[in-house]
Amino acid sequence: MEMSRSEGIRAVKKGLLLLGAVTVAEVLISLLGKGYLIPGLEEYSFLFVITGLAMIVLSLYKAYFIVYEFMHLRYEVKGMALSILLPAMLLIWGLIAFLWEGNTWGDRREEVQYEIPQDIEQQLDESEGEPVKELDNHEH
């Protein structure tokens, strides 16, 4: 994609101003949500969700701009762009699945026993050298 010098400089300036402004907005939103700009605001927990969502949306916008304009994906053949973007959609599943999983780990933290209870330890000793299925044979 060829453009004249002044056109190119204008495009870069526009891109830098946009990315810079969005970054500043993100930082301000983050500090606002944590009560640095207006003290006491961090007490409202719903604000945490709203500011979080706002920052995620702004970051996705920055990513879109970098990929489509700076990396020129907008000007590529549609099939090529799809061959890059569609696999990346798998990450949406990954994000939901693993955050869900992490949340469950947190909820079940109390159930985790860090020491092996004695009776199981005994069973382990007894079953040494025996097939693993023998372990399951109790309390039926």
Binding site: A11, G15, S59, F70, L91, E101, G102, W105
Partner: protein, 278 residues
């Protein structure tokens, strides 16, 4: 009429895929750079999602605007300011990279060399900032991949002793407030406090995973920046030697390294979001 149009587009598509020319109208090298970046994006996404999963699994997590509130020249209590500056450095270097690609398309050799050099400087500046940040965390605040001195209170309470810097005896704190356990002459010095319910406790270390995740993820990104700087420098020398004038392909190599460099900036957008903003 519409059927005719359909037929022509179909034959065009068949032509595109019947061999002899690139159906994606791009070169092998550029396409493969894109696919490499897709795989690299998955690696980074895996790491960042792991951060999220572990953060969700822990009752308390270090608050980033407390952890990252120092800047060079003795600035303290300035949450997120230094990392914002780091972000700007990377964004600007991305802009200079776009300029280098534009000058390449215009076959302006000196312009390409100049803007690639500016991009190299941007990359080095970012690495310098990161080196300072790591040094501050390791040498001043004693965070390692095994120890995380940044903890968070889970109950309201009052301190029974001071640390001689920021906390004094009798200072009150609220649940969710973060603290840093100091190290004096090689020994950890956790402060004692009384919770609202009257129990006397000592400050506890924060979740171990924080340090490991921080150093690994920002380190992996920093490694990408470092290799980017090296590649940019080599390409710059090649441009200066006139190699790409001979190839007559509009400085395609500069475009490829440009894709890589923008990707590094793209990853930082998400590292910045996950580690610092949220």
């Amino acid at each position: 009429m519409s059927e005719e149009l359909l037929e022509t587009t179909e034959t065009q598509e068949q032509d595109n895929w019947s061999g002899g020319k690139s159906p994606f109208k791009t070169s092998y090298g550029k396409l493969m750079m894109w696919y490499f970046l897709v795989s690299d994006a998955f690696t980074f996404a895996g790491l960042l999602i792991a951060y999220g999963a572990l953060r969700f699994s822990t009752p308390s997590w270090p608050v980033p605007d407390f952890v990252f509130s120092t800047a060079p020249f003795g600035v303290t209590g300035a949450p997120l300011i230094f990392v914002t500056i780091m972000s700007f450095v990377l964004i600007i270097s991305s802009g200079t990279m776009v300029r280098a690609v534009q000058e390449g398309a215009r076959e302006n050799k000196n312009g390409v060399v100049f803007w690639l050099l500016m991009t190299v400087f941007g990359g080095i500046a970012f690495l310098g900032c990161q080196a300072w940040e790591w040094n501050n965390l390791i040498a001043e605040e004693h965070m390692t991949i095994f120890t995380n001195p940044f903890g968070t209170h889970t109950e309201d309470g009052v301190y029974l002793e001071g640390d001689g810097h920021y906390i004094e005896k009798g200072d009150e704190f609220k649940a969710g407030e973060s603290y840093l356990i100091h190290k004096h002459h090689g020994d950890w010095d956790p402060l004692t406090f009384r919770t609202e319910s009257g129990v006397v406790k000592q400050q506890e270390f924060g979740p171990k995973a924080f340090g490991a995740l921080f150093f690994f993820i920002t380190g992996f990104h920093g490694f990408h920046v470092f290799s980017g700087v090296v590649i940019l420098f080599i390409i710059m020398l090649n441009v200066a030697s006139g190699l790409y004038v001979e190839r007559k392909n509009g400085y395609e190599m500069v475009e490829k390294v440009g894709l890589y460099w923008h990707f590094v900036d793209l990853v930082w957008v998400f590292v910045f979001l996950v580690f610092y903003l949220l």
